[in-house]
């Protein structure tokens, strides 16, 4: 299971840079990220090469941090490739709370991070449907 770092950020100048700088100083590499925001605040989600260290370092700097289990999948990098994978989850009544993509690609595959309401069930569904699941190591250090 891929461990994702989530942290609370106010929508204020310089906050995002502060987090990224902290990661840089600790030698932590950011692999993928997404931000969900409202007018006042946002939640920054990160896949990094060392989640435990990132969590500890961010907490030490006073951030609200949690680690969440997410699923990484590899889908065919062509129109409709992602839709097929999501259909399997839909059919099994597993819902996607949020998702975002890895930058770059791997051969003819695109990599997507999914947060599911039922991670275990989702994993089974996806595996049985022939969707390729990313290994943890692959996500952290692609």
């Amino acid at each position: 299971m891929i461990k994702q770092i989530s942290l609370f950020l106010e929508n204020k100048k310089g906050r995002l840079a502060h987090v990224c700088r902290a990661m840089g100083e600790e030698g932590i590499n950011i692999r993928a990220l997404s931000i969900a925001d409202t007018t006042d605040f946002g939640v920054l989600r990160l896949i990094v090469d060392d989640p435990q260290k990132a969590e500890a370092q961010l907490k030490a700097r006073g951030f609200s941090v949690t680690i969440t289990d997410v699923v990484g999948i590899k889908v065919a990098d062509r129109p409709g490739g992602l839709a097929e994978a999501l259909d399997f989850l839909d059919d099994a009544d597993v819902s996607v709370e949020y998702m975002y993509a890895f930058l770059g690609k791997c051969g003819d595959q695109a990599m997507v991070i999914l947060r599911l309401n039922d991670t275990a069930k989702g994993l089974t569904v996806l595996t049985n449907s022939g969707i390729e699941i990313m290994e943890e190591a692959e996500a952290y250090n692609f």
Binding site: F41, G62, S64
Partner: protein
């Protein structure tokens, strides 16, 4: 205009003799009828009859808001419930209100002291007074109401809110005196200007404003924009409600109706009595109240008392406009807000209360309360939907417990400044 020349212009010696007699009677009454006071008086070895001069009041124990909370709802009452003809309540710090009671005679005296205030504000039988204080548990509406009826004014019991209708009635009925909070008075004139109504169709001449702190600057603003004279009326429900004091045309402080409410100032830290003219916490003793008498009640309001004669002819002691509080309470849109109330609401959302801060601003003419809540592990969720939902839940709990709508803002941990480990709970940015 003076409503009760006998009481308001009494020579100082006569007034003091009257106060002493009433104080002696009061102490005997509470000693016999209120277990709380009997215990307190016995604890200091005091017995009724020991009071031989007004100065002796300084030996009596204080009563605090906490005492009222501890005796919720009726244990401080000094008469049987059959003698109580009305109760009012104000918001308290724990979600439980502070309850006050009135006998029939208390209500008569309340109308009497409010009538005196209305006369100070040039409001008599010829006046058409629109009362835009809330009617209900809050003392503002009904308090002014009976005073206004007593002076024989025509009363429009409009209550608070509904700005459009307030303006319509003011214009159509020819309201001459407006009674409301000063911020609402400003809100009304702003709305009037926006609505395209013509001010010259309004007959408003006087305003009697209170229930929240306001400055001379704000008074000038109200007077200039409305083109009226504005008077400051002071009161608190624990003591009576509006009518405890009001300023006259001389504007040299608010005349305290001290034949009913004995005023002192004390050092808020040591409790030591201060001589007249020295700034301190205002303390009241209700000399004549039957149902809910209080001895040396600490108002937490900071002011200075003056007793030189006033050019208006009244001899009663005057208090300066309230300049601050000796605790963290703030008054927002007429509602008492204690930081501890906010804390107890936030406790419902986790095992420990997060750091928080109350920020009061004046937006246009209305007070705006923002509560900043620091994100904590107990509150954090990694979806914004959950966090927005959390904001809404806090908003609704604050609204139902404190009776006030506040903007809730989630902020990053450690973003609220801390001093000596304790964060400053209230930032009041209103330039009063």
């Amino acid at each position: 205009m003076i409503w009760n020349e006998h009481a308001e212009c009494m020579p100082k010696e006569d007034l003091e003799a009257l106060q002493l007699r009433r104080l002696q009677e009061l102490v005997i009454r509470v000693y016999h009828n209120v277990p709380f006071y009997r215990n307190k008086l016995q604890a200091i070895g005091y017995e009724p009859g020991d009071i031989t001069s007004l100065k002796d009041i300084e030996k009596l124990p204080f009563t605090t808001k906490q005492d009222l909370r501890d005796n919720y709802p009726f244990d401080m009452f000094a008469v049987p419930m059959s003698e109580v003809v009305r109760v009012h309540a104000s918001s308290g710090t724990t979600g439980k209100p502070t309850v006050v009671g009135y006998s029939r005679r208390d209500l008569d005296i309340w109308a009497e002291v409010t009538a005196r205030c209305l006369y100070m504000a040039n409001t008599d039988r010829k006046a058409m007074i629109q009362i835009a204080y809330g009617y209900g548990l809050f003392t503002g509406g009904l308090g002014l109401h009976y005073g206004a009826e007593k002076v024989g004014a025509s009363v429009i019991p409009m209550s608070g809110g509904n700005t459009e209708k307030q303006l319509m009635l003011m214009e159509d009925f020819g309201t001459t005196t407006l009674a409301c909070t000063p911020s609402y008075a400003l809100h009304l004139i702003e709305s009037l200007e926006k609505s395209g109504r013509d001010r010259s169709n309004f007959k408003l001449k006087y305003g009697i404003f209170g229930a929240e702190p306001w400055s001379e600057r704000m008074r000038k603003q109200i007077e200039d924009r409305w083109g009226i004279k504005a008077y400051d009326i002071y009161g608190l429900s624990e003591i009576m409600g509006p009518g405890v004091a009001c300023d006259c045309d001389v504007r040299n402080g608010l005349h305290i109706n001290e034949d009913h409410f004995y005023a002192e100032t004390i050092n808020p830290d040591t409790g030591a009595s201060l001589p007249i003219g020295e700034k301190g916490e205002l303390v009241f003793t209700t000399l004549t109240k039957e149902a809910f008498p209080l001895i040396r009640y600490r108002t937490r309001d900071i002011t200075t008392l003056h007793d030189e004669p006033c050019a208006c002819g009244r001899t009663t002691v005057r208090m300066e406009k309230i300049t601050g509080r000796s605790d963290d309470m703030i008054i927002v849109r007429g509602v008492n807000v204690f930081p501890t109330q906010v804390e107890s609401v936030l406790l419902e959302f986790g095992e420990t209360a997060p750091h928080y801060q109350l920020i009061v601003e004046r937006e246009g003419t209305m007070d705006k309360l923002t509560i900043e809540v620091e994100m904590s592990p107990a509150l954090f969720s990694d979806t914004v939907t959950e966090l927005s939902h959390l904001e809404r839940r806090i908003y609704h709990r604050i609204d139902s417990v404190l009776g006030i709508s506040a903007d809730i803002r989630l902020v990053e941990p450690f973003s609220i400044p801390r001093s000596e480990g304790k964060s400053k709970r209230v930032i009041d940015k209103r330039s009063l």
